[in-house]
């Protein structure tokens, strides 16, 4: 009996891991016509486990690469990673294909990218959401000159969302939860918390934030990015505790929160993250108050175009409110419900952040 239970659990683990067999599905679209130099240029991308259709940052990065294809007539392709063990082989397979630039998407590809960059000094890399050279894990490693980090200080935009949510909340309670506790997730929650605090300070209000304690750097997490049923339950718990605006920073898990909001019949609204939820998750469009957007597509497009033109640098790109790398999406259906005064205040805060009067501080903001 014991052996069977052991066998079963081992196999269960195996199956879970086996979710990613070979790094197989490759999508390639041939470049159009255009200049010969550009037509020979191959822009490549490696996804993380979310896959190309995650409606979030992998999808955005691919959009950016496709935009570069449109602009310059280069060729583009991507390789999907189905598990962590795919990262290194995927990056290496693209190195072997003589890509002009390899875009790796996500924090978790940091180590694979750094190793490949050190082994192939001639190859150019760009990585979304991670700065391998500033990563304490890889301290003592020589900095590389061929990786361009594409980073986003989402705390700034989340700050605006926090202020807006606090102003829009009728119950006086707002909530948030994350997928997994990573710096790129917590940075949203930090900004959101500060935005709520700012509203309370300015208005003498007492709006409560559930699900994230900035001082303790801890809060509510689903433990996974792909389980909408868990997301719905987390959101229901927040709603029961009084929250009427929720910001899920949890990819597919967050869709469950949108469902919970939809079932509330207009009592609960959602602040989406990464890409405008009104379009990327349109089945729930009426519940989205706004989205804390990350301009991943633009950043990838710009980095690719620069590389094609021979202007590649390893200076990190940091998306901020000032360079439109991060921002708030339009309010769409909430346009008429957000008081003019409140939206003007949000605009004013944005200006203050851009000119440096207000500095949004977060331990999770990208370091250069």
């Amino acid at each position: 009996m014991k052996t069977r239970v052991l066998a079963v659990s081992a196999l269960a683990a195996l199956t879970l891991a086996a979710c990613g067999e070979a790094p197989s599905d490759e999508g390639a679209t041939g470049g159009a016509t255009g200049g010969t130099a550009a037509a020979d240029f191959l822009g490549c991308m490696v996804t993380d486990q979310g896959g190309i259709d995650d409606r979030s940052f992998n999808a955005s990065a691919w959009e950016g690469l496709q935009a570069a294809e449109q602009d310059l007539g280069i060729q583009v392709k991507y390789v999907t990673s189905k598990s962590e063990s795919d990262y290194t082989p995927n990056v290496n397979s693209l190195v072997a294909e003589d890509c002009g630039i390899i875009v790796t998407v996500g924090f978790s590809l940091g180590d694979a990218t750094l190793t490949a960059a050190q082994a192939n000094a001639d190859e150019k890399f760009a990585i979304v959401d991670e700065n391998p050279d500033a990563d304490p894990d890889t301290d003592g490693v020589q900095p590389t000159e061929n990786i361009k980090p594409l980073l986003f200080n989402t705390a700034e935009a989340a700050y605006l969302a926090g202020y807006l949510s606090a102003g829009m909340s009728e119950s006086g309670t707002v909530g948030t939860f994350g997928g997994i506790k990573l710096p790129t997730v917590a940075v949203f929650m930090d900004g959101f918390a500060d935005g709520v605090a700012k509203y309370n300070e300015d208005k003498g209000a007492d709006v409560k934030l559930l699900g994230w304690d900035k001082a303790k750097q801890d809060g509510l997490f689903a433990g996974k990015f792909d389980s909408p049923t868990d997301g719905k339950n987390l959101a229901s718990n927040l709603i029961q505790q009084g929250a009427d605006i929720i910001m899920p920073v949890a990819g597919g898990t967050g869709l469950g929160a949108a469902q919970a909001a939809q079932e509330s019949g207009g009592k609960v609204a959602i602040v989406w993250v990464d890409t405008d939820g009104y379009e990327s998750a349109s089945q729930y469009k009426e519940v989205f108050l706004t989205t804390v957007e990350k301009g991943i597509a633009n950043a990838v497009e710009t980095a690719t175009v620069e590389t094609v033109n021979g202007q590649f640098t390893n200076t990190p790109f940091i998306g901020t409110l000032a360079n439109d790398g991060v921002g708030l999406a339009p309010y769409h259906d909430f346009e008429s419900k957000v008081p003019a005064e409140l939206s003007a205040e949000v605009e004013a805060l944005k200006e203050q952040i851009i000119d440096g009067t207000i500095v949004v501080e977060s331990a999770n903001s990208p370091q250069t």
Binding site: M1, R4, V5, A7, V8, L11, A12, L14, T15, L16, A18, C19, E21, G51, D53, G175, K181, L210, G211, D213, D218, G219, L220, F221, G223, K224, D226, S227, P228, T229, D230, G231, K232, N233, L234, S236, N237, L238, Q240, Q241, G252, L255, G256, Q259, E263, S282, Q283
Partner: protein, 427 residues
């Protein structure tokens, strides 16, 4: 006149001395002392814990119950120790600790913990329990599927795949027809088809059951992910926007304080789950069919000798199990979030398998185990929201930690059906 009672005395059977098992009293004692010291004596005497017993849908609302945190923790911890003492007495007289004592111990321990962890705060008890049921639903369906298969002697590792197939098909058919019942039917059929593959290979062709199960899980994950990308996400309106079940409050019953909204203000799929559990339990232990199934799982050769077609019984039970798990898959879509998502079952099929083993291959035991998982999971969510001294990463381990304790300390030895996993080849 005296009756002659001097009939020869019945031969006295030599009494078998069972070894004294101190496992339960020791576990209870250690946990009880831990509760007394950590939750009780180290608590904050100035704070009160409030238990909120309403959810907002009741006809009449119970008032909140506020208790002094420290005193309440101490009292409940002492209760734990009293039960532990009782368990010790039972153990010394070589008798088993009754299930109600374990339940009473668990309840007192949890109350002691809650009173400590939510000191100075309000704990939504009804919401906690309602969420527990919802988190347990897929586990209970999956575990019933496991019971049906394994009681007949076929190991069902493919529960995860059956759940996923059910979730996928119910979303697709639900979207196309905009009908919840047809969606449910499609989920059952999907589970049936997946189970049919398992049955053909495992029962008809005697292929190793664990290996077939694992392969099926991978196959279903691959197929559903492919169709999700290639078809469902291309046109969400047509393919992936099924109707979602609404809560149905059962009159009168749903007005019972606390348990009413928890048990009787749920969606259709939860009520179907109650029916399924009752049917499986009665069927397995109170009908001729159930006796045959168990015979086939315990001693197929004997069953064969009295004329039961072993492999036919097994084949049918695997199909029945698949139907149960497929129906459970509909919970993920029709019963919860509507749209299908890639790999959305997120390993719940494997937890269902664990719940079945932990529930000792019995339908009701599996329900208890699944509820424990669900409760631990829901509790960590609620506690993360109200704020606790425990880091969130540890909180996420709570369901597994709770299981470890219960399995290692309180549950007795679990024994699988004797012929579980062994193909029956008629010689």
């Amino acid at each position: 006149m005296a009756l002659d009672t001097s009939a020869p005395p019945a031969p006295v059977e030599p009494e078998i001395q069972l070894p004294i098992s101190y496992k339960a009293p020791i576990t209870m004692g250690v946990l009880g002392v831990f509760a007394l010291v950590v939750f009780g004596l180290m608590g904050d005497p100035a704070k009160t814990t409030t238990f909120d017993l309403t959810i907002g849908t009741e006809a009449f609302a119970l008032p909140d119950v506020a208790v002094p945190s420290m005193a309440f923790s101490v009292v409940t911890a002492v209760l734990c120790l009293i039960v532990a003492g009782y368990a010790l007495v039972r153990a010394r007289s070589r008798r088993r600790v009754p299930w109600w004592a374990i339940l009473a111990f668990g309840l007192a321990f949890i109350l002691s913990f809650l009173s400590w962890v939510a000191a100075g705060k309000t704990l939504p008890v009804t919401g906690l329990l309602q969420g527990t049921i919802l988190l347990s639903v897929p586990l209970i369906f999956g575990a019933q599927s496991g019971v049906l298969c394994e009681r007949a002697g076929v190991v069902n590792i493919a529960i995860e795949g059956q759940l996923l197939a059910g979730a996928f098909m119910s979303a697709v058919v639900g979207s196309l027809t905009n009908n919840i019942w047809l969606g449910l039917l499609a989920a059952v059929v999907a589970g049936l088809l997946v189970a049919w593959v398992l049955a053909v290979f495992a029962v008809t062709y005697f292929v190793d059951q664990v290996i077939v199960g694992v392969v099926i899980n991978t196959l279903v994950l691959g197929l559903t992910s492919f169709f999700y990308t290639a078809v469902l996400s291309q046109n969400v309106e047509t393919w992936n926007s099924p109707p979602v079940m609404q809560r149905i409050a059962i009159p009168v019953l749903s007005d019972i304080p606390i348990l009413g909204p928890v048990l009787f203000n749920q969606s259709l799929i939860v009520y179907l789950m109650y029916v399924l559990v009752a049917v499986v339990h009665v069927g397995l232990f109170r009908t001729r069919w159930g006796l045959r199934v168990r015979a086939v799982g315990e001693h197929p050769k004997a069953a064969d000798t009295v004329g039961i077609d072993v492999n036919r019984v097994r084949f049918r039970n695997v199909l029945l199990g698949g139907m149960a798990a497929g129906l459970g898959g509909a919970f993920f879509t029709l019963g919860s979030v509507g749209a299908f998502g890639k790999a959305m079952t997120a390993g719940k099929g494997f937890i269902a398998l664990a719940a079945m083993i932990f529930g000792r291959w019995s339908p009701l035991g599996a329900v208890g185990a699944a509820l424990l998982f669900g409760f631990a999971d829901q509790l960590q969510q609620v506690l993360s929201i109200i704020g606790t001294p425990i880091p969130s990463q540890f909180m996420l381990m709570a369901p597994y930690l709770a299981t470890l304790f219960v399995v290692a300390g309180l549950a007795g030895r679990s024994r699988a059906p004797a012929a579980d996993g062994v193909p029956y080849i008629k010689s």
